[in-house]
C-alpha cells in the first residue's frame, strides 16, 4: 500500500494519518478549550438539524471528525496557517459561529433551514464569513440546496467559479475540476453518485465580487481527506482535495 505515497504531500500524510487514525473519536475543539482565540484558524464544521441517515447518523457529521482532523494535519504541515489542530463543530444557528469566519458544511441535499437559521447564515456571510459546501450529489440534492440558499440570499445567484479565480490559485495552482469519488467508488468504476455526473465548483459572490459561499457539487472532498491514509484511495483524488481545501482556506483568510 505504500506505493500509493508517491508525492511528498501524500507520503507525509500517510505517515501522520496512520498515527492519528485511532484517535478519531468525535471531539469539539471549541468546546474543549472554551476559547476561540487560541489560534488564527479553526476548521469549523456547521451542525444542522434534520437529514438523519440510517446508516451514517446525522448528515452534518458525515466523515466527521476524521476528515476535519486529517485536513488540519495537512494544512498545518504544508502552510504557515496557525490552525487549531482538531475538529470544531458548531451549530449553524449558534452565535458562537461568528467567532469562526470559516465554516464547512456537507451533505446539504437534506439541508433544511428555518427563517432564523437562514437569517443567521446571511448575516454570517454578509459580515465576512466564508462557507464551503461539499459532498452532495445529483439534481435532487441540488434543487434542495438551491431552495435552502434562496432563503439565505433570495437575490443572489449561484454561479460557476471560473478556473482563473484566485480561489484556485491562492496556494496551489489548480487547473481542472475533478470529480472526487467516495471511498467505495474510488476503488474503480464510475466516480459519480446518483445523476451527479459532472463535478462543479460554484459560488455565491457579494456585491464586491468576494466569494462568500463555495459549493462543491457532485464531488466529495471530505472523503478524500478522510481516506487519504487508505492505500486503496487514489492519490490523485486525495492530492487534489487537499490542494483545493488549502486554497479555500488561504483564500478565505485573505479575501
Amino acid at each position: 500500500m505504500r506505493h500509493f505515497c508517491t508525492s511528498n504531500i501524500t507520503a507525509w500524510l500517510c505517515a501522520a494519518c496512520w498515527a492519528l487514525a485511532p484517535a478519531s473519536a468525535p471531539a469539539n475543539g471549541d468546546a474543549e478549550t472554551g476559547d476561540p482565540t487560541g489560534h488564527e484558524f479553526y476548521f469549523t464544521r456547521g451542525i444542522y438539524g434534520g437529514g438523519e441517515d440510517d446508516d451514517w447518523g446525522p448528515r452534518w457529521a458525515i466523515d466527521y471528525p476524521t476528515a476535519d482532523q486529517q485536513f488540519l494535519i495537512a494544512l498545518r504541515r504544508l502552510t504557515l496557517v496557525d490552525a487549531f489542530p482538531s475538529d470544531n463543530a458548531v451549530p449553524i444557528d449558534d452565535p458562537r459561529l461568528r467567532d469562526y469566519p470559516f465554516t464547512y458544511i456537507l451533505e446539504v441535499g437534506a439541508l433544511s433551514l428555518d427563517e432564523a437559521q437562514a437569517q443567521g447564515l446571511r448575516e454570517y456571510l454578509d459580515k465576512g464569513g466564508f462557507l464551503v459546501i461539499d459532498d452532495f450529489w445529483g439534481s435532487w440534492a441540488w434543487r434542495n440546496f438551491e431552495t435552502q440558499m434562496a432563503k439565505v440570499f433570495p437575490d443572489r445567484a449561484i454561479v460557476e467559479v471560473p478556473m482563473e479565480h484566485p480561489v484556485f490559485h491562492a496556494f496551489y495552482d489548480v487547473r481542472e475540476i475533478l470529480q472526487v469519488p467516495n471511498v467505495y467508488q474510488a476503488r474503480g468504476g464510475p466516480t459519480h453518485e446518483l445523476d451527479g455526473y459532472q463535478p462543479h465548483v460554484r459560488g455565491i459572490f457579494d456585491d464586491h465580487g468576494r466569494l462568500m459561499v463555495l459549493i462543491n457539487w457532485n464531488t466529495d472532498l471530505g472523503d478524500a481527506w478522510e481516506w487519504a491514509d487508505n492505500p486503496r484511495y487514489p492519490l490523485r483524488y486525495s492530492t487534489y482535495a487537499y490542494e483545493l481545501g488549502i486554497n479555500f482556506v488561504i483564500y478565505a483568510m485573505s479575501n
Binding site: E40, L80, G128, M253, N255
Partner: protein, 754 residues
C-alpha cells in the same frame, strides 16, 4: 547769548558734553614744560638780590608776571573744546509713507489714518514734512506692494492691498544711493509681519549706519471688532474625510457676545456653529465640517456674523482652499502567516476609494500570496528590498512578521522609509510581533513607540478597549466613539492580545488601552513620530471580531471606521515626493508669488537636476506653464514666480520627470481680494519699535512726532562728527590776561615801582 556764552564763545551745554584740549596733544606737555621754565626764570629774576625789593613784592610781582605770561603762552598753544555733534550739513532723508488700504481706517485722532498721514507728511504741506525740509533734502516715497517716489498729495490714494515694509525699505536704501542718505522716516500702521526679508533689510540698514525712525499712525487697540484671523486646515485630506479646521479669531470689546461661524462652499452652507466670544483677545474655535466628497480643490468660505457695532466687518471672512487628494493612499500589508485580519482589513476599506491596500501574505516558508497588487510584478519576490519599490507606499502594516523575516537591508530600508521618506509604519499584535517576534533585539526596536517586555510566547488575554484621556481627543478615536454602538468602545467585543505591551517610550502617545481586569492596562493603540514619519502599534490580534462577533449589529460600522480612519490619519502627514510652498501663502492681486518646489527621487533623496514644471490655473481658467529654476544656495529646491492678477482660487500643479519616473503635486493658493489689509489692522507698535531699535532710530506715535526733525538730526549714525572749537580768542582769556597785566601795573604803582 548769555554772559557765559559771551565770555567763553560757546554755550555751557557744549562745555558739559565736550572736553578741553590743546589743538595737538603733544602741546600739553610742551606747554607744561614752557610754563615751568618761565615760572622758574621769572621767580629767579625777582628773587635775585640785585633788585631793591622787599621779599613780599618780589613774590607778588613774580606770581603776577608768571600768570599773565602763562596765560599768553596758553593762548598761543591753541586751546580747543572738543565736542561730538550731529552733522548739520543738509543731508537726504527719505519719508516712506504707507499707501495701503488699512490707512483708510478712521482711528487716528478722529480721522482716517491716511488723512492724519497727509496732515503730517504730505509733500510740501505736511507739518512735519516742512520741519524736515528746512534742514534736509526730503524724498517722499509712497509704498504698498511696491514703493515709488511721490511728488504730491494726490498720489497717495491708500488703495494698495498690502504694504510691503521690506520692499519699501530696500527701495529707499538702494534707489537713493546717489544721495547722501542720512535717515529714513517710516510712517505706517505697521500692518505687516516681521518677515525674514524685513529682518535682512534691517541688518542692511544697521550695517550702512542709516537710522530708520518710525511713526505709528492709528490706534493700537480697536474699540469694537471681531476678526477672523486665520483658518488652519490639514494639508492633506481624502474624499470623505471630516474636515477638522482650527479657526483663530481676535476680538476687541466683543466679549460675551453670541456670534455664529459658518462655512460655505459656492454659497451652500456646510456648517454653522454658534459661539460666545471669550474675554481673551485671541481665541481658537475647533470646527468640524461635514465630509467633502469630490477629490480636487475646494474653496471654503469661513465667515463670522457681524453686528452693527463691528468696527471692521471686512475682516470677518476668509476663503480657504482645501485640497482633497485624488490619488488613493497606498497601503502595504505584510503578514508572515495567513491571518483573518488580512481579509477583514481589506473588507473594511473596500468601499473607500481613497484607500488601496496591497496584501502580501507569506503562506509557506518561501511562498507568498498577493492580494490587491497593482500589477503582476508588484511584490512578486516578497517584501521589497529597494527604496523605489517600498517608498511608493504611504502606509506599511506589519502583522505577524518575525523580525528575522526581514533581512538587515530590509530593516534598514524600513527605518529609512519612516525617517527619511516620512512614511507611516503600523505594527499589529500577533504571535510573531513585538518581543514575541524577536523585535527587542532587532534594528527595528528603536522605531517602536512601545517598550518591549521579555518574550512571552504563551501569553494571551482578552481585553476590552477604552480610549485614554488624550486618545478621546484624537480624530481616529473620536470617529470610533461616534460610530461605536451604545456605551462606546468598551461595549464592543473583547479583543485578543498575545503581546503584553505595558509601557510606551517618552514622547509616544497612547490612544487606546486594553483592560483585562488586571492591575495595569495594556497598550492597544499608540504612536510616535520618528524622523519625518510616524510609527504606530495596534496591539490587538483580531480586530475582526468587531465585525464578525454575534453581539455586533449587521449595520455596525465600527470596524470599518477603525481601519479607514487609521489609514487616513497615518497617511495624512506622509511626505509627498514634491513639496510645494507658496510665499506669500495668501497673496493679493499684483503681488509676486514665489512657488518653491522640493522634488525628491524615488528613494526620497534630493534631486539636483530635476525636470520640473509648474502649471498655474487661474480662477478664469487660464493656464500658465512656468519653468522652475534652481534656488540659489539651496540644493534641491526650485523656484517659480507668478503674479496673480485677479483674486480667487489659483490651482498649482507641479510635475516631475517623464513617464518612467513621474510625480505630480497639486496645491492651491487663494489670492485674497481687496480688503485683506483690514486683517490684523491695529497699529502694530511692537513692529515699528523693533524697526527703529534695530537701526538706531526712534519710534514716534503720530501725536507726539514733533521732535522728529531733531531726532533725525541728532541720531544719524555715521553722520555724527567730532568738532574742535577754538578757544584762543575767547573773551574770557583776554579778560584774564588784561586783569593780570593790570594787576601787576597797579601793584607797581602802589609800591612806587613803576
Amino acid at each position: 547769548m548769555g554772559v557765559f556764552e559771551f565770555l567763553f564763545k560757546y554755550p555751557a551745554t557744549l562745555y558739559r558734553q565736550g572736553t578741553l584740549q590743546l589743538e595737538h596733544g603733544w602741546m600739553a606737555y610742551a606747554l607744561a614744560g614752557a610754563l615751568a621754565v618761565l615760572a622758574a626764570l621769572t621767580l629767579a629774576q625777582y628773587l635775585s638780590r640785585s633788585l631793591p625789593l622787599r621779599r613780599t613784592d618780589r613774590l607778588v610781582l613774580a606770581g603776577l608776571r608768571a600768570a599773565w605770561v602763562a596765560m599768553l603762552v596758553l593762548m598761543l598753544f591753541a586751546p580747543v573744546l572738543t565736542v561730538t555733534v550731529a552733522q548739520t550739513l543738509r543731508g537726504d532723508v527719505v519719508l516712506l509713507l504707507d499707501d495701503s488700504q488699512s490707512m483708510r481706517i478712521a482711528d487716528a485722532a478722529g480721522m482716517t489714518r491716511g488723512a492724519r498721514l497727509r496732515e503730517l507728511f504730505a509733500p510740501g504741506g505736511g507739518e512735519l514734512s516742512r520741519a524736515l525740509e528746512e534742514r534736509f533734502t526730503v524724498h517722499h516715497v509712497g509704498f504698498g506692494l511696491n514703493a515709488g517716489r511721490i511728488a504730491g498729495n494726490s498720489v497717495l490714494n491708500f488703495a494698495a492691498p498690502r504694504s510691503d515694509l521690506a520692499d519699501a525699505l530696500e527701495h529707499a536704501r538702494t534707489r537713493l544711493q546717489g544721495a547722501t542718505l542720512g535717515a529714513v522716516v517710516l510712517v505706517s500702521d505697521g500692518g505687516a509681519a516681521l518677515s525674514d526679508d524685513l529682518q535682512s533689510e534691517l541688518l542692511a540698514y544697521r550695517a550702512a549706519g542709516i537710522a530708520v525712525h518710525t511713526v505709528g499712525i492709528g490706534a493700537p487697540r480697536f474699540s469694537d471688532d471681531v476678526e477672523l484671523a486665520t483658518v488652519s486646515v490639514p494639508e492633506r485630506l481624502f474624499p470623505g474625510d471630516l474636515l477638522r479646521a482650527e479657526v483663530t479669531l481676535r476680538q476687541r470689546g466683543a466679549a460675551g457676545r453670541q456670534l455664529n461661524l459658518q462655512v460655505t462652499e459656492d454659497g451652500v452652507l456646510l456648517h454653522r456653529q454658534a459661539f460666545e466670544v471669550p474675554r481673551t483677545h485671541s481665541f481658537t474655535l475647533p470646527v468640524t465640517v461635514a465630509p467633502l466628497k469630490a477629490p480636487g480643490t475646494h474653496r471654503l468660505s469661513f465667515a463670522v456674523t457681524s453686528d452693527a457695532d463691528d468696527q471692521l466687518p471686512a475682516n470677518n471672512r476668509l476663503d480657504v482652499p482645501v485640497q482633497l487628494a485624488s490619488a488613493p493612499v497606498q497601503v502595504l500589508h505584510f503578514e508572515g502567516e495567513p491571518r483573518f485580519e488580512v481579509k477583514f482589513i481589506r473588507r473594511a476599506v473596500r468601499d473607500d476609494s481613497s484607500l488601496q491596500v496591497a496584501s502580501l501574505i507569506r503562506t509557506a516558508e518561501n511562498k507568498y500570496y498577493r492580494v490587491g497588487v497593482a500589477d503582476a510584478e508588484q511584490l512578486l519576490t516578497g517584501f521589497p528590498e529597494e527604496p523605489a519599490a517600498l517608498f511608493g507606499f504611504d502606509v506599511i502594516v506589519l502583522g505577524s512578521v518575525a523580525a528575522n523575516l526581514l533581512n538587515a537591508a530590509q530593516q534598514q530600508l524600513l527605518k529609512d522609509y519612516v525617517a527619511r521618506r516620512g512614511g507611516a509604519l503600523l505594527l499589529l499584535g500577533a504571535r510573531q510581533a513585538f518581543a514575541e517576534g524577536g523585535y527587542a533585539a532587532s534594528e527595528l526596536s528603536g522605531l517602536l513607540p512601545v517598550r518591549l517586555q521579555e518574550k512571552q510566547s504563551g501569553f494571551r488575554t482578552r481585553v476590552s478597549v477604552t480610549p485614554t484621556a488624550i486618545g478621546a481627543l484624537h480624530p481616529v478615536v473620536q470617529a470610533l466613539s461616534r460610530t461605536a454602538p451604545g456605551d462606546g468602545l468598551p461595549a464592543l467585543p473583547a479583543l485578543t492580545l498575545v503581546n503584553p505591551l505595558l509601557a510606551v517610550k517618552p514622547g509616544a502617545t497612547v490612544l487606546l488601552e486594553g483592560d483585562d481586569g488586571g492591575p495595569e492596562p495594556f497598550v492597544v493603540l499608540a504612536y510616535q513620530r520618528y524622523g519625518r514619519g510616524t510609527v504606530a502599534v495596534l496591539a490587538t490580534r483580531d480586530t475582526w471580531r468587531w465585525q464578525m462577533h454575534s453581539s455586533v449589529a449587521s449595520d455596525d460600522m465600527t470596524h470599518e471606521t477603525l481601519w479607514r480612519e487609521l489609514f487616513r490619519w497615518l497617511a495624512r502627514p506622509v511626505r509627498p515626493r514634491i513639496e510645494l510652498q507658496a510665499d506669500p501663502a495668501y497673496p493679493v492681486p499684483g503681488e509676486q508669488m514665489r512657488i518653491t518646489a522640493t522634488p525628491l527621487d524615488t528613494g526620497y533623496q534630493p534631486l539636483l537636476a530635476a525636470d520640473l514644471r509648474l502649471v498655474v490655473t487661474t480662477p478664469l481658467g487660464d493656464r500658465h506653464t512656468l519653468p522652475f529654476s534652481p534656488r540659489p544656495g539651496e540644493n534641491g529646491s526650485y523656484d517659480a514666480v507668478f503674479t496673480a492678477l485677479e483674486p480667487g482660487l489659483h490651482e498649482l500643479e507641479a510635475t516631475l520627470g517623464d513617464e518612467a519616473d513621474h510625480a505630480v503635486r497639486r496645491a492651491a493658493v487663494e489670492v485674497l481680494p481687496a480688503g485683506e489689509e483690514f486683517r490684523g489692522a491695529e497699529l502694530n507698535e511692537p513692529l515699528l519699535r523693533h524697526i527703529a531699535a534695530a537701526t538706531g532710530g526712534r519710534y514716534f506715535r503720530s501725536p507726539e512726532a514733533g521732535g522728529l526733525d531733531r531726532a533725525v538730526a541728532d541720531v544719524q549714525g555715521d553722520t555724527r562728527i567730532e568738532k574742535r572749537l577754538p578757544l584762543y580768542d575767547a573773551p574770557a582769556l583776554f579778560v584774564v590776561l588784561v586783569v593780570l597785566i593790570g594787576a601787576e601795573w597797579f601793584y607797581r604803582r602802589r609800591r612806587g615801582l613803576a
